[in-house]
């Protein structure tokens, strides 16, 4: 287990280094000489600001030296300044983090509960009405882009409820520290959006995997021992049927990131994703770099967690 973990961590660090290097090339090397500072400083930058960027980042130094500075700043968690808003990038990211965390945690929980629940129900009652309905729902969910689901939910739920004077559900972001009800009201639709789009995949996956597992000999053995069906299902079948689901979760983390950016944009949540989209339209390159690195860190850490739970579920992974 320890060796497995170490190998995974090293691989994660490698990914981070590659992303950092790619970003460096993209922003500092691939663009013409004078444009670097321009790209980092934002569309509204004055010549004075650009000169300041030049000086701060040592843009007249040789590229390898710049690369060294860039990496050592990253290692110390120093993401530089947003020259657009004159604030440290870390401060901006910190302010935007709670909204994003709220969306991600709630959304993932809801989609796993709905997805796995529907998958297990379909698998234990194949061809029932529920199974058929779930299959149709899955296909619709897989086909729908996240932002379309979000926009349609806004029109169908938010606008309708507000027209009828029910103002519980809101768009925009209310911090949980300010008002729990307000926070819940603005989080429900984003969660449902993520769940509708993502749960579909998990319903399909867990249904297929569970159906396969239920056909195995050891399940028949378990049944013939006289164990209750419930115990057979949850102790024996579901556990081993979960491994493909967990590995899919690892694959989906990148997609989740995209989903979060979209959901924040649709519902105006002012989280990391929306900040970044704004930063791009303002040409605030320094902030974009900060977000890219944070996103890569998130994917690496989350993948590590998935790998560990994978190893816990399936002993074969640990041995190999």
């Amino acid at each position: 287990m320890a060796r497995f973990l170490i190998r995974r961590i090293v691989a994660g660090i490698l990914v981070l280094w590659i992303v950092a290097t790619l970003t460096f090339f993209l922003f500092f090397v691939a663009v013409p000489e004078g444009v670097v500072a321009r790209n980092l400083a934002g569309r509204a930058a004055t010549p004075a600001v650009i000169a300041q960027v030049d000086q701060n980042l040592g843009l007249n130094l040789p590229k390898p030296v710049q690369y060294w500075h860039y990496l050592s700043h990253l290692l110390r968690g120093n993401l530089g300044y947003s020259y657009y808003s004159q604030e440290p990038v870390t401060t901006i990211l910190k302010q935007a983090l709670p909204a994003t965390v709220s969306v991600v945690v709630g959304g993932v929980l809801l989609w796993l509960v709905v997805g796995l629940g529907a998958g297990i129900l379909s698998a234990t009652r194949p061809r029932s009405l529920f199974d058929r309905a779930a299959t149709v729902g899955v296909l619709a969910g897989v086909s729908a882009p996240t932002f379309v689901v979000g926009e349609l939910l806004i029109i169908a739920v938010f606008v309708q409820l507000n027209d009828h004077g029910i103002t519980f559900i809101q768009t925009g972001y209310t911090p949980i520290s300010q008002s729990f009800a307000g926070w819940l009201g603005c989080m429900i639709l984003p969660w449902i959006t993520l769940a509708i789009v993502q749960a579909a995949v998990y319903t399909r996956l867990s249904r297929g995997s569970l159906l396969d597992t239920l056909g195995e000999d050891y399940i028949r053995t378990a049944r013939s021992k006289g164990i209750t069906e419930r115990r057979v299902l949850y102790r024996h079948a579901v556990r081993s049927a979960m491994t493909p689901v967990v590995s899919q979760l690892g694959i989906d983390l990148g997609a989740l990131l995209g989903g979060v950016i979209v959901v924040e944009q649709v519902f105006g949540l002012q989280g990391l994703g929306q900040q970044t989209v704004t930063a791009i339209s303002q040409g605030d390159g320094q902030l974009v770099i900060g977000f890219v690195m944070l996103a890569a860190l998130f994917v690496v850490v989350a993948n590590l967690i998935v790998d560990i739970s994978y190893a816990l579920l399936d002993p074969r992974v640990r041995i190999n």
Partner: protein, 373 residues
């Protein structure tokens, strides 16, 4: 039946005009099965219709008399400067925020969506299949390196790269196509690689090799035709994914830059008009959903049709059969298993319609009881 009757029938058979027994190729069989599946046929019709609409976009624009970029500030917006609804002032689906004809914009948007969807899928498929074949066939060091690269691409958050590229280069059609292609080939490669690994151990490959065929001939002449089925299904299912990607990028403002109409950027522009103009959201969203759903259903249908286990033409109903080979574990050992292949893939699992285990008619326990006897 008496003996004379039997003899009579035998003579009748002998005297019947000789009838050539017609062989049917795998593709003919597939086509027959596909035709018998009304969902697949319907989705094919819808797909063709969407293609026709995209091709005829200039004709449709001419019929309405409104140009793709043409704004009608007077007729196209109401007294408050808001979009007008469907049917009003000669705009069949209403207008957008500056009074352009929504129908014309959506129809031209179909061109971009289909162009991006088809082009990226073709490029990604050709590239992905080649890499997968090479990795799977040569094995060893080549395979290790290529498999690592595939894994790395699959694990990379595509949206991050798209964001960074758009920030540096500014959004454009070329970036959209590049980003989508770059992140699509790896999933195909992974599946083709897996299939090649098992196919290259077959006897007929050994036969080809003993006849003196070189590696490239074996890969592209002997192995590739056996993979066309799964690859066709995958490609059909990548089209809607690519269409969604494009729409999402355009929605975020890092895809097709306005004023060129794309379903994604129309929906992005609709964001400020939720309360006042439902049509501004609903029609482009419907176009997008219908397109992606039709391609997904078609891909599902092709997969079912390619899979000899689902012999539903001969059995009638769509769900009635599939019992032929009922035990889950036997299924797994049959040649090319598309469900398994796709399960292993990175994209959404596509196996919702996999064959049912034997007991699927009733509760599981009834079956084990009956089999125990």
């Amino acid at each position: 039946m008496s003996i004379t009757e039997v003899q009579f029938q035998a003579t009748a058979v002998e005297n019947a005009p000789p009838q050539a027994i017609e062989g049917r190729s795998q593709w003919q069989l597939t086509w027959r099965r596909l035709r018998g599946d009304w969902v697949a046929v319907m989705s094919m019709v819808v797909v063709l219709l969407i293609c026709a609409i995209a091709l005829c976009a200039p004709l449709i624009a001419a019929a309405t008399g409104h140009g793709e970029y043409q704004a009608f500030p007077n007729r196209g917006t109401n007294a408050f400067g808001q979009p007008v609804g469907p049917g009003a002032n000669g705009f069949p689906l209403g207008t957008d925020q500056i009074g352009r004809d929504l129908l014309v914009r959506i129809v031209y948007g179909a061109r971009i969506s289909l162009f991006v969807g088809l082009l990226t899928t073709v490029v990604a498929t050709v590239f992905g299949v080649s890499i997968g074949l090479i990795a799977g066939y040569f094995g060893g060091f080549v395979d290790t390196v290529l498999a690592r690269i595939i894994d790395a691409v699959l694990a990379f958050p595509f949206i991050v790269l798209a964001l960074a590229l758009a920030a540096v280069l500014g959004p454009s059609l070329a970036i959209v196509i590049g980003v989508i292609t770059f992140f699509s080939w790896a999933g195909i490669s992974r599946i083709v690689r897996g299939q090649t690994l098992s196919l290259k151990e077959k006897e007929y490959i050994e036969a080809a090799r003993s006849l003196g065929a070189g590696p490239w001939r074996i890969m592209f002449v002997d192995i590739l035709p056996n993979l066309l089925g799964p690859v066709l299904v995958l490609a059909t299912l990548y089209i809607p994914t690519a269409v969604s990607f494009e729409a999402t990028l355009s929605f975020l403002g890092i895809g097709i830059p306005p004023p060129a109409p794309s379903w994604g950027n129309i929906l992005s522009e609709a964001q400020d008009h939720y309360q006042t103009a439902w049509w501004f959201v609903v029609f482009p969203a419907a176009a997008l959903l219908i397109t992606t759903l039709a391609f997904n259903l078609l891909g599902d249908g092709i997969r079912d049709a390619l899979d000899p286990r689902t012999e539903r033409i001969f059995a009638g109903g769509r769900t009635a059969l599939r019992k032929r080979d009922s035990r889950g574990k036997h299924r797994r050992h049959r040649g090319l298993d598309l469900d398994q292949a796709i399960l292993a893939g990175a994209q959404a699992d596509l196996s919702a319609d996999r064959p049912m285990p034997e007991w699927s008619g009733g509760p599981p326990r009834a079956d084990t009881a009956s089999k125990g006897g």
